[in-house]
Amino acid sequence: MNISKQEAQESLTEIDNAISQTQKAAGHFTGYILMLWGVIWAIGFSATQFFPHGSRWFMLTLDTIGFFGTWICVRKSNFKFGRPGGGRIGLAWMILFGYMILWGGLLQPSGHESMAFYSTVCMCAYVMMGLWLSRFLLWLGLMVTVLTVAGFYLLPMWFPLWMGITGGGALFLSGLSICRSWK
């Protein structure tokens, strides 16, 4: 099979276009979910700084909204893709959510320990998802874990606000950068 240089160039351009179009469609979906969780973390943790007594129920309510929001994003997405057994990821998050409630009841962490505990458990799930799905999630999970531990020890007075700004901000900006980079 022989083709001209011009035809080869056109084919490579077609390939590049198809790849960027696909990544854009897939990226928007992931990006919106990360942005949603970024906003939830930012509101939830920042509010905890100023209203510490209602923090447990406040965060539980926001997390529930986040799960439903994620579910709606998945359902409404026009671009459906996944990996074999990928449907189990949603189920795994539900199980983790259930276990977090159980561990919370058994260990009864309070105040800042509670925030660091739930945040790092979530980030542990991001890191593990990253092993199978995308290195990006792995590094994001590790980065937010490091920020959480740093804030816990170095800024105890401002830890909730620190988590709202850095943790929520990292999730939101990651989502935004995915959406923008694949435009």
């Binding site: 083709i3 390939i15 198809a18 671009f79």
Partner: protein
């Protein structure tokens, strides 16, 4: 030296293969999502997918999700290798 692949070189099949490659290893893409992405009719897309499946470049899996039939398309290892060879051959022509 890499060689061009006449099955993959057809414009629509080239786009299908590129879209599947873009999602990474083991990714499965929904039939209707792929059709919308590449702006193809079901019939046109189906015909090209059959050609690629017959060549062993893609795998088509049909299953029911919440009682609705879904067709999932994924790239085989052979398909990924052949696509990469084809891209290398295209680049060699330019050089």
């Amino acid at each position: 030296m890499a060689e061009l692949n006449s099955t993959i070189h057809q414009p629509v099949r080239l786009q299908i293969m590129a879209s599947l490659v873009a999602l990474g290893n083991d990714a499965q893409l929904d039939f209707s999502s792929l059709g919308k992405l590449l702006k193809l009719t079901d019939g046109n897309l189906g015909a090209h997918l059959q050609t690629l499946e017959a060549a062993g470049y893609i795998k088509i899996e049909k299953k029911f999700v919440e009682r609705k039939p879904r067709t999932l398309i994924s790239l085989t290892r052979k398909g990924r290798y052949e696509f990469e060879e084809h891209v290398t051959a295209l680049k060699q022509i330019l050089n």
